[in-house]
């Protein structure tokens, strides 16, 4: 890929990374990765994902707490159900499922988020720029006034 892919990282605000990892995510993320903090992964509406895709994101990472450790007891599980189904559904209409990754990270997983991101970047660079699902910038051939 010629230019850097655009990545959106959704992080649950309770999903604590180890100190250096959190420091890195908060302050040292490369500029092409956009961090969005949510109150819980359960708050992530499929609309957020779709808006990210239509806004031109090439990949989306959702990072939440471990199953038993959700601040709201079950938010991350219902989020998982929804996100899992939503990406399967997007896959059904031709969007590459592997552009969306859902991870559960814990305080102990030192360095994991960095590994995940670099792994994900490799994956996205193999897929290339997203070309299914039109972004909001594009309009139909001939423009709107045709």
């Amino acid at each position: 890929m010629e230019t850097n892919p655009k990545i959106i990282l959704f992080q649950c605000q309770w999903c604590l990374y180890s100190e250096p990892d959190q420091q890195w995510v908060d302050h040292e993320l490369p500029p092409f990765i956009h961090l969005v903090k949510t109150p819980c992964t359960g708050r992530i509406n499929p609309l957020y994902i779709l808006n990210a895709i239509q806004g031109g994101a090439d990949g989306i990472i959702i990072s939440g707490c471990l199953p038993e450790k959700c601040h709201f007891k079950e938010g991350n599980l219902s989020a998982f159900r929804q996100m899992d189904e939503f990406v399967n559904f997007l896959d059904h209409i031709g969007y590459e499922k592997s552009r969306v990754r859902f991870i559960w990270i814990d305080l102990q997983d030192r360095g994991r988020i960095q590994r995940e991101i670099s792994d994900f970047l490799t994956q996205i660079s193999i897929l290339g720029k997203a070309n299914t699902l039109t972004t909001r910038i594009e309009v139909a051939a001939g423009g709107l006034n045709a």
Partner: protein, 317 residues
């Protein structure tokens, strides 16, 4: 079918006379025999207009959330409708005790567009029995095989019998074959990624954003839809590809675990957009992953409204 209509009329007369319901939702005749219309019967005088045949194409459960919870509603339910009613009861849109459901096992809804496309609008009479539909068009009688006229979603129907009726008007019909719709979903999935996207794009492209699919759907009862949100604006109201895609994706996805495959959305669409291939996939996944079929009873919460610690086992990483 005359027999069925009389039975329905008798049942409705009883309910209205004994004041067991405030309103009874069924269908009434219109000027054109092709277009029976949802009707709301409040007294027995109106019953002369009652109609029931295969052309009654709307899902009447759609009207439930529009009445207050105290209204005692009587309703004609077919298989899909009764499941929609259940799904609405689960979502507390109407209490079960205020509903009186008159069940009719359904042998499929006739797609009006199929008749019009083959003969035209000028149909002056419509008759049907189990296998044959005959219409009179410009004085000429034309016969069709009933199955050929059925709406596409009815061809895949698995549950033709109402699941929660208070009274059934006829004998139950044999259940449909669940593998038809499964094969449909699977064969769609076997297409290449670009073919699938092309299919979706082609269907969504014709959308005119009239939201007839939303309004015809019993499960789309939100008082404010995501497309109507002003802050933040979740999707474009412009008929750009992005706007149309967003509408079709999210509309379908909001039906996960709630859609009863009645096909009302497709029948309402003025641009003949196919939509059930989206919801079929969602239903397929719900069954594969959670063994859930929407609306089979009035208690089981749909998968997205519940959770299970076992889910994590499916999650590999």
């Amino acid at each position: 079918m005359l027999d069925l209509k009389t039975k329905l009329q008798n049942e409705m007369t009883r309910l209205l006379n004994e004041n067991l319901v405030d309103v009874f939702i069924a269908f009434k005749k219109e000027d054109s025999p092709l277009r029976p219309q949802p009707a709301f019967f409040r007294n027995t005088k109106e019953l002369a207009q009652l109609e029931y045949n295969g052309l009654c194409q709307n899902n009447l459960a759609n009207y439930l959330p529009k009445y207050s919870q105290e209204t005692r509603i009587g309703m004609v339910v077919r298989g899909c409708e009764s499941r929609s009613v259940n799904a609405l009861i689960i979502e507390k849109q109407h209490p079960r005790q205020n509903l009186y459901l008159v069940g009719i096992p359904c042998s499929g809804i006739i797609d009006l567009k199929k008749i019009i496309n083959s003969v035209g609008e000028e149909v002056t009479s419509f008759e049907e029995d189990e296998d044959i539909v005959s219409v009179v068009h410009k004085g000429q009688e034309i016969k069709f095989n009933r199955r050929e006229l059925l709406h596409d979603s009815c061809l895949n129907c698995v549950y033709p019998n109402p699941v929660n009726a208070d009274v059934m008007l006829t004998e139950p019909l044999p259940e449909g074959d669940p593998s038809i719709v499964r094969e449909k979903v699977e064969s769609f999935q076997e297409l290449s990624r670009s073919e699938r996207y092309e299919w979706f794009r082609h269907e969504a492209e014709r959308c005119i954003r009239c939201y007839a699919c939303r309004e015809a759907c019993p499960m789309c009862y939100c008082s404010e839809c995501f497309v109507d949100h002003a802050t933040p604006r979740w999707s474009e109201s412009t008929v750009s590809p992005a706007g149309k895609h967003a509408w079709h994706i999210i509309r379908a996805f909001h039906q996960t675990g709630r859609c009863t495959s009645c096909g009302a959305c497709e029948r309402a669409c003025p641009m003949d957009i196919k939509m059930t291939y989206l919801t079929d996939k969602l239903n397929f996944d719900m069954y594969e992953n959670y063994e859930f079929v929407p609306g089979m009873d009035e208690k089981t919460q749909p998968p997205f409204a519940s959770f299970n610690m076992d889910d994590k086992k499916r999650f590999v990483l």
